[in-house]
């Protein structure tokens, strides 16, 4: 086991202020988008939802030059990746989305509500979406998880949420709009309401 040569990683550097024309052009530049903030595909079963929010810095100012990426299971809790060897009922649902923040630090994703995914011990994890945040001023992106406010029972038993001090858990719970399938999830990079980020 001592024989394995381990190469050092290529270090991260900031996405900088000028990524939009390359990563999230949105029709404003002579370049096409590889990814969208709309993950819904024709065969995607499950509840269609929208997740909206804003990114704030330590002064409470909005962060307009942020990029957000999400990764999630489908409504059956299956990932569109070879490491998830279970059957994949929604062949075209990719589960990945990208969104550049707008002038108000705002972002939105149209997707389906993910299903339950097992943890390494086979225990159920509450439905969740992984979220990464990139921005000017961030030398390394941040990882967090979006959980759903209307899954109180599953959230209470979730093994990852259980690691988070109780008083900070609310930062990971998206609140459902009473009148629509829209959930609000704001990202606070710093401050009293600082979002919980994970070291993975």
């Amino acid at each position: 086991m001592a024989d394995q040569v381990i190469l050092g990683l290529t270090p991260s550097q900031t996405v900088g202020p000028y990524f939009a024309y390359g990563l999230t052009p949105g029709g404003k530049y002579a370049w096409n988008d590889a990814f969208s903030n709309d993950l819904v595909t024709p065969d995607a079963a499950g509840d269609r939802i929208r997740v909206v929010g804003q990114v704030f810095d330590g002064d409470g100012a909005v962060v307009p030059d942020a990029m957000l990426e999400i990764w999630q299971a489908d409504a059956q809790g299956r990932y569109a990746n070879p490491r998830d060897t279970r059957a994949l009922p929604n062949a075209s649902f990719k589960g990945f989305g990208r969104c550049g923040a707008d002038a108000n630090g705002g972002f939105s994703f149209d997707t389906v509500k993910p299903g339950v995914v097992p943890d390494p011990d086979g225990k159920p994890q509450a439905p969740h979406i992984l979220l990464t945040v990139f921005a000017r001023g961030m030398l390394l992106h941040l990882y967090t998880r979006i959980y759903f406010g209307d899954e109180a029972e599953l959230n209470a038993a979730d093994p990852v949420l259980a690691l988070v001090p109780a008083e900070r858990r609310a930062t990971l719970i998206a609140r459902r709009d009473p009148d629509s399938a829209t959930y609000r999830f704001d990202v606070h990079l710093q401050g009293d309401d600082e979002t919980v980020f994970f070291d993975i």
Binding site: M1, Q4, V5, I6, L7, G8, L9, T10, P11, S12, Q13, T14, V15, G16, P17, Y18, F19, Y21, G22, L23, K28, Y29, A30, W31, N32, A34, D57, A61, V63, D65, Y79, R83, D84, K94, F96, V117, P118, D119, Q125, H128, L130, T132, F134, G137, M138, L139, L140, H141, L142, Y143, L163, V164, R168, L189, Q190, T195, V196, F197, F198, I200
Partner: protein, 233 residues
Amino acid sequence: MTLIYPRESNIAHPPRLFPGYKSTPKRSPQKPLILMRQTLSELTGPVYGHETVRPGDHDLTTQHKGEPLGERIIVHGHVRDEAGRGVPNTLLEIWQANACGRYIHVVDQHPAPLDPNFTGAGRAQTDADGYYRFVTIKPGAYPWGNHPNAWRPAHIHFSVFGHAFVSRLVTQMYFPGDPLFEFDPIFNSVPDEKARLRLVSNFDLANTKPDWALCYRFDIVLRGRDATPMETK
């Protein structure tokens, strides 16, 4: 093959708070990050087919009617995991300033000319062995407002995916021998010198195209290594 992603590999990365880079103090968390075990959610990641990269997307010099001004270069390299295996079919996205050091982005107000024949964005997928190749022009250095007389060394931004969501990487490729290195807080935010030098491409004479373009090689190492026998028990 089951890859594992030890957390200690992350020591290569810069700290999130690096006061020399003045945008970090208000955009870095002050509360501790929560340690967690990686689950299927973290160990999977997006897989993209060839439809994501169109023919010619790797060549930034042929996206417009005319050729961009500047020094034409080839940038190529090998994307590997920590165990040295090539990472096949993974997506790379690049963006960069033009030869004068000006980005096409609306926010960039550096008084250097835009080039109507250069957008500065490209995309490629690694081949079955993990190799990629771009054709572009060498970007210029440019000033920025971080501190008095601050200039960024010439660089190309890279976005790479890898096998899992935890192998996601956004970084910058630099050019060898740049005199601005010692003054640049973003480059110097990487604490370990060996790791920092992995951000600098190598001049690759063997792969220049005579009478056409110089060549730089930029190899990339992403998270992911073999489980050791102990750990597979």
